[in-house]
């Protein structure tokens, strides 16, 4: 026994030394591979959010593979990518960010609101843009304060605003909302709390009653929340969940007997993994749809043809075109388009730095023609960003689960600028004064 122990110690010490050596030396190696645009993929394929994180991650990766396989990269610049598992945990996400940054990352999609918050302070120093499509910090729409954040296509505030608009339309006008009771069942984290200021603003305007019911993360235990729903009998329930919380909520609603037709989810609570397990029980449940879905879109056909048929697909074939897969694909599409836009200015066929990609993200102008050319004309609406507006567009639809698939049940909705603009500005100003930042000078927009 005795010699055994010393040898274990020696072995352990050797292992530690080897590890330390490679840590010291290893980080610079990847930088040397020029001519490849490196896009880090922060993902979570494990943990309570994996059912939703996995199709998202697959969509992101497949589109990059498609660009490499079909177009030979962006104007000849091949895309290199690497995944890093965050498990939706902020500290792990920060570690991933540092690891990927060392490899020459040009932009990040953190895939989690908590990680976005932690990285928002780090990216201005490292000069790497963050793309947070439909999530993240709502105030970061204001590009004058949040130079490096891009909450493309929507934030939690636009989502909450559109849901209230949709409910008003259903009731027959905003004045009909008066005296109604709307419950917000939310994931008790920054993600779930973000919509509250907007809902409170709308509550003041229309006089409905807002009941806030938090669900402890990750949301597998919701009995008390739904007991509250049963006691309060709200006219509508807004579901602000992610991962296992959504399917659990639908099962609880079923058990409580709360009509699913009166439940409206955010776009993170409106994908196949949320309702598939509940099946018939989720019939009638509505959620926002930030993007269209399905395999008919030309880009999906291309992914099937160039990626999946070559055996390169990241996930199962029938997952292609699902709601979150499509969203991941759109994130990669916007990243690629931003790099393409940056190349137009800084040199075609060159590898773009984080700063140059940021310029590309800020000057995106994707019109319907371009969307059609990309093969996603039916999935989203045109996007154009500017120095002031890092969101680009706020369009979304509502879709309803019929027991086997999602069907659109509303026209395209858009958030109300009149309400949103002053709120974003006030929140951005508060952020700037808390952090002792100054707004960007107009000249800075040209750079």
């Amino acid at each position: 026994m005795k010699p055994n122990k010393t040898s274990t110690i020696a072995a352990r010490a050797a292992l530690m030394l080897a590890a330390a050596a490679s840590l010291l030396g290893g980080s610079g190696a990847a930088l040397a591979q020029a001519k490849e645009q490196f896009i880090p993929l922060l993902v979570y394929r494990t943990g309570p959010y994996a059912p939703n994180g996995t199709p998202w991650a697959n969509g992101k990766q497949d589109y990059l593979k498609l660009i490499n396989a079909r177009d030979g990269g962006i104007n000849g610049v091949k895309i290199a990518f690497e995944e890093c598992e965050t498990g939706y945990a902020t500290d792990k996400g920060v570690e991933c960010y540092e690891r990927m940054k060392g490899k020459g990352a040009s932009l990040f999609d953190p895939q989690a609101t908590g990680i976005t918050f932690a990285l928002t302070d780090k990216v201005p120093v490292d000069k790497i843009p963050l793309i947070t499509l439909g999530y993240g910090l709502s105030a970061s729409q204001d590009g004058n304060v949040f130079k490096w954040n891009f909450p493309m296509m929507g934030s939690y505030w636009t989502a909450a605003d559109m849901l209230i608009q949709h409910l008003a339309k259903k009731e027959g006008g905003f004045d009909k909302l008066k005296g109604r009771k709307i419950a917000l069942v939310y994931h008790d984290s920054p993600f779930g709390k973000e919509p509250i200021p907007l809902l409170e603003e709308r509550q003041k305007m229309h006089g409905f009653e807002l009941v806030k019911i938090p669900v402890t993360a990750p949301g597998v235990e919701q009995k008390s929340a739904w007991l509250q729903v049963r006691q309060q009998r709200p006219d509508y329930v807004l579901l602000w969940g992610w991962g296992v919380m959504n399917s659990t909520a639908l099962k609880e609603a079923q058990a409580t007997g709360y009509p699913r037709e009166k439940m409206y989810g955010v776009w993170w609570a409106g994908a196949e993994p949320d309702v598939k397990d509940v099946g018939e029980g989720a019939k009638g449940y509505n959620a926002l749809a930030l993007n269209g879905h399905g395999q008919q879109a030309r880009v999906m056909q291309d992914i099937l043809k160039y990626v999946h048929e070559k055996g390169q697909g990241s996930g199962p074939k029938d997952e292609v075109g699902s709601v979150l897969y499509t969203r991941g694909m759109i994130i990669s599409m916007l990243s690629v388009e931003a790099i393409r836009r940056a190349q137009e200015r800084f040199g075609k066929g060159k590898v773009m730095t984080g700063e140059q990609v940021r310029w590309g993200l800020e000057n995106l102008a994707i019109d319907q023609k371009r969307l059609d050319a990309l093969g996603i004309g039916t999935l989203i609406r045109p996007i154009s960003t500017s120095c002031q507006d890092h969101m680009g567009s706020t369009w979304a639809r509502v879709h309803t689960w019929d027991g086997s698939k999602w069907n659109f049940s509303s026209d395209w909705l858009q958030a109300d600028e009149q309400i949103l603009k002053p709120m974003v500005k006030a929140a951005a100003d508060k952020y700037a004064s808390d952090k002792k930042l100054t707004r960007r000078a107009p000249a800075d927009c040209q750079s």
Partner: protein
């Protein structure tokens, strides 16, 4: 051969009572300090500093604090994450609400608030022990989680409950680059390490250990249980609170209550158990094991160029890591610090063991 104390004669009580009685230990310690303070900042990459060394230092500090309570005083605590949160949010509030308050003062005041909360939740320890106390401290964890999620005043009315700090500086020097952050944490760890080591060597530490070994006997020989237990809770939660403030301010920059969830409490308790209960060095071993090893395991396939599925790599990391924990606990139930001690004992006799 080299590591032995032959010929080193102590001629005063002072020499006999110093922290490292063997000259070689002192030299090794000074070399280690020089390495940590001079060589590492010069050589380490940004990734190594920001993603590994800074979290390692801060969690070592937290484990050190917890080790005083669990390892030295024998009071099991599952509220460490909560006490870290108190330190972090209190320091944040002091920094934001009091104009011109120096950073170090804010962090220490944060630690002081954690002390108050720690002592408050330590009171039940006078009546209950063992697993029952663990359950009582669990209440501290859940209370803190609840307070920082619900009481808006504590999070400076931030709509999302997430708060952040930036533009930190000490005596006019900014704490921005990884090297500066690393040195800032290192300074805290050194000072608190030294304080803790001296506390546990003195009469206070002895009263804690007497409490741990048998509280009735300790009371009989004149140690007041209340003073001993509550002082252990106070010192422990102070250090843990400071570590929490550092974790939030220096490592994360902006954070939410989830950063100090029950998982953090368990992680720290595992660090203390695997590192070695009742040992200062054990806190560092434990932190290294729990912080560095998963990252190394995670990176191994990449270093060897093995293409491996992200999910599979993550699952493998967890499995190997779990197996290693079991392995080390079987080989040496007293933790890595005990292994280290055995190695030193053997070295002193080498090459002529009895």
């Amino acid at each position: 051969m080299l590591y032995r104390e032959n010929g080193q004669f102590k001629t005063s009580y002072g020499a006999d009572q110093q922290i490292f009685p063997i000259a070689q230990d002192r030299v090794a310690m000074l070399l280690l300090l020089a390495l940590a303070a001079v060589v590492v900042p010069g050589l380490a990459s940004e990734y190594l500093l920001r993603a590994i060394l800074i979290p390692f230092l801060i969690l070592s500090l937290a484990a050190l604090g917890l080790n005083i309570l669990v390892g030295y005083c024998g009071q099991i605590s599952l509220g460490t994450g909560g006490f870290m949160a108190v330190g972090a949010y209190a320091a944040f509030n002091f920094l934001v609400r009091v104009d011109g308050l120096p950073l170090v003062a804010a962090i220490l005041l944060g630690g002081l608030c954690a002390t108050v909360v720690g002592v408050l939740f330590g009171i039940p320890s006078l009546r209950i022990r063992g697993l029952y106390l663990a359950v009582a401290t669990l209440a501290a964890q859940f209370f803190c989680d609840w307070a920082f999620l619900r009481i808006k005043w504590l999070t400076h009315d931030s709509s999302s409950g997430s708060v952040g700090v930036s533009g930190l500086s000490v005596l006019g020097m900014p704490i921005e680059t990884p090297v500066q952050k690393y040195l800032f944490c290192l300074a805290f760890v050194l000072v608190f390490g030294l304080i803790a080591k001296n506390l546990v060597r003195g009469h206070i530490g002895r009263s804690w250990m007497a409490m741990r070994d048998m509280d009735v006997a300790a009371a009989v020989i004149g140690i007041r249980p209340m003073a001993a237990k509550l002082s252990a809770f106070a010192v422990s939660s102070f250090i843990v609170g400071v570590a929490g403030a550092l974790w939030a301010f220096i490592h994360l920059g902006s954070w939410e209550p989830a950063a100090f969830s029950i998982d953090r409490s368990f992680q720290l308790l595992f660090m203390v158990i695997i590192g070695g209960l009742g040992s200062i060095a054990g806190a560092f071993f434990g932190a290294a094991f729990l912080v560095v090893l998963p990252i190394v395991l995670d990176n191994l396939p990449y270093w060897f160029g093995i293409p491996i599925d992200t999910a599979l790599a993550s699952h493998l990391t967890t499995m190997i890591f779990g197996a290693l924990i079991v392995f080390f606990l079987i080989v040496e139930p007293h933790g890595l610090a005990r292994l280290w001690q055995i190695a030193k004992e053997k070295l002193r006799l080498w090459p002529f063991p009895h």
